[in-house]
């Protein structure tokens, strides 16, 4: 067992957990959290590939590492956009749900 195997398995389980949360949790914010978890697991996979490509004195293959950095930026941009959409939805309807039929009554929201 080396670091790549341990954290590769860790990434696989994180992807599984994230996927489960993404499907089953009805709250959009929790879906965003689960999505981020899933993403970080996928990044760990790239880390494993990079680690196994360690050569010529480098700790890892720089190409997958650079891809992960790009991925982190894009994941953050997507998260920020999703959170902004969610907060706007909450502001307009007084509820944070993505189900169209069971929109809860905006009783305690003065703006709605």
């Amino acid at each position: 067992m080396n670091a790549a195997v341990v954290f590769g398995l860790c990434g696989a389980i994180a992807i599984g957990l994230g996927l489960y949360g993404l499907i089953t949790n009805p709250q959009p914010l929790r879906k965003i959290l689960a999505f981020n978890l899933l993403g970080s697991g996928a990044f760990l996979f790239f880390g494993v590939v990079a680690r196994r490509g360690a050569a010529v004195g480098l700790g890892g293959d720089p190409v997958p590492q650079a891809l992960v950095i790009t991925g982190i930026v894009v994941a953050f941009a997507a998260t920020a956009l999703a959170v902004a959409l969610l907060l706007r939805l909450f502001e307009m309807t007084g509820a944070a749900t993505i189900r169209a039929d069971t929109r809860s009554s905006p009783a305690d929201d003065p703006e709605a």
Binding site: M1, N2, A3, A4, V6, F7, G8, L9, A12, I13, A14, I15, G16, G21, I23, T24, N25, P26, L29, R30, L33, S40, F43, L44, F45, G47, A50, R51, R52, G53, A54, A55, G57, L58, G59, D61, P62, V63, Q65, A66, L67, I69, T70, I72, V73, V74, F76, A77, A80, L81, V83, A84, L85, L86, L87, R88, G94, T97, T102, S104
Partner: protein
């Protein structure tokens, strides 16, 4: 099992425990708190995997900005939680979802165990060609030269996300200031921190940018630190968010990708290819792009965090 791999297994167990907590916690606020802790742990994993550049990015984004964004959203949405929890899917759906997730996790675990070790690598190619740019950090070389197109597009994605957020603004607030106006006691502890930390943070952010040429670091990591310092000053109420219609702000937002694009087109004009640097000027050009990029990243991330404009200028 050696002492080092015991440590790795322990770290992996804690990371997975937190991951399970993020998914199963009752309250979103507690789950977001778990995500912050998760984000603080991942850099340890990445250092162990030999990816210090990634560890820096993960520390700045995962442990810092993402956590603040999600905690803030969880707190604002706290009142809606009980209504939505009732929409939890039935047992059958949850069972199917867990079977599917377990299947995917197991397949991926098999892939990890079956992948060749040592695997194919581009590391020798990256090191061989590093003389072309004169930079010593292979990851920066990949980001700024060998795969420069990806980095250019990534910055465009950041801008698109910001445009997406701005397009949510109600008409009457167009061009206004994003987010709420923060207030704090000017003699309080938060204002104290917001006066003391940013000068240090700016130095560290620029340091991370500067060492990125030859050691782990770079424009994105440095820019994230600068964005965090800007946010701290705004959160302490010492400075308001700028109206999004300001010209200097718009110019800062496009400076990084703009200069990148101009240099790239220059490469085309000089007869090589799009984004090909003339080899005599590769290093100064890359450093110039990175400087502009750092400012752009700082401004873009800060505004992404600030959110939808909701006040008049």
């Amino acid at each position: 099992m050696t002492i080092a791999s015991t440590y790795e297994v322990a770290l992996a167990m804690i990371v997975l425990g937190l991951a399970a907590w993020i998914i199963t916690a009752q309250k979103s606020f507690a789950a977001a708190g778990g995500f912050v802790a998760y984000g603080l742990l991942l850099p340890l994993v990445w250092v162990r995997l030999g990816g210090i550049d990634v560890a820096l990015a993960e520390a700045a984004i995962g442990g810092g900005l993402s956590g603040v964004l999600l905690l803030g959203a969880a707190a604002r949405l706290g009142t809606t939680e009980t209504a939505v929890v009732a929409e939890r899917p039935g047992v059958l759906v949850r069972l199917l979802a867990s079977v599917l997730s377990a299947f995917i996790a197991l397949s991926l675990a098999a892939v990890v165990l079956l992948l060749p070790d040592p695997g194919p690598t581009l590391a020798p190619a990256a090191v061989e060609n590093s003389a072309a740019t004169g930079l010593g950090n292979p990851v920066t070389n990949v980001l700024m030269a060998f795969r420069a197109m990806d980095t250019l597009l990534e910055k465009v994605v950041l801008l698109l996300a910001l445009i997406g957020i701005w397009s949510l603004v109600p008409d009457r607030f167009w061009g206004g200031r994003p987010g709420m106006r923060h207030e704090a006691d000017p003699r309080g502890v938060l204002a104290f921190l917001a006066r003391l930390l940013p000068p240090l943070g700016i130095v560290i952010g620029l340091y991370v940018l500067w060492v990125g040429a030859d050691h782990p670091g770079g424009a994105f990591q440095g820019g994230t630190i600068l964005a965090a310092m800007w946010l701290l000053v705004m959160m302490a109420g010492l400075m308001d968010a700028p109206p999004i219609s300001r010209r200097w702000l718009r110019l800062t937002l496009i400076a990084g990708p703009g200069i990148f694009l101009v240099v790239g087109l220059g490469g085309l004009w000089l007869g090589n290819a799009f984004l090909a640097y003339p080899s005599a000027y590769a290093k100064p050009l890359i450093v110039a792009i990175e400087l502009a990029m750092t400012l752009t990243v700082a401004a873009t991330l800060g505004l992404l965090m600030a959110g939808v404009p909701e006040r008049r200028a």
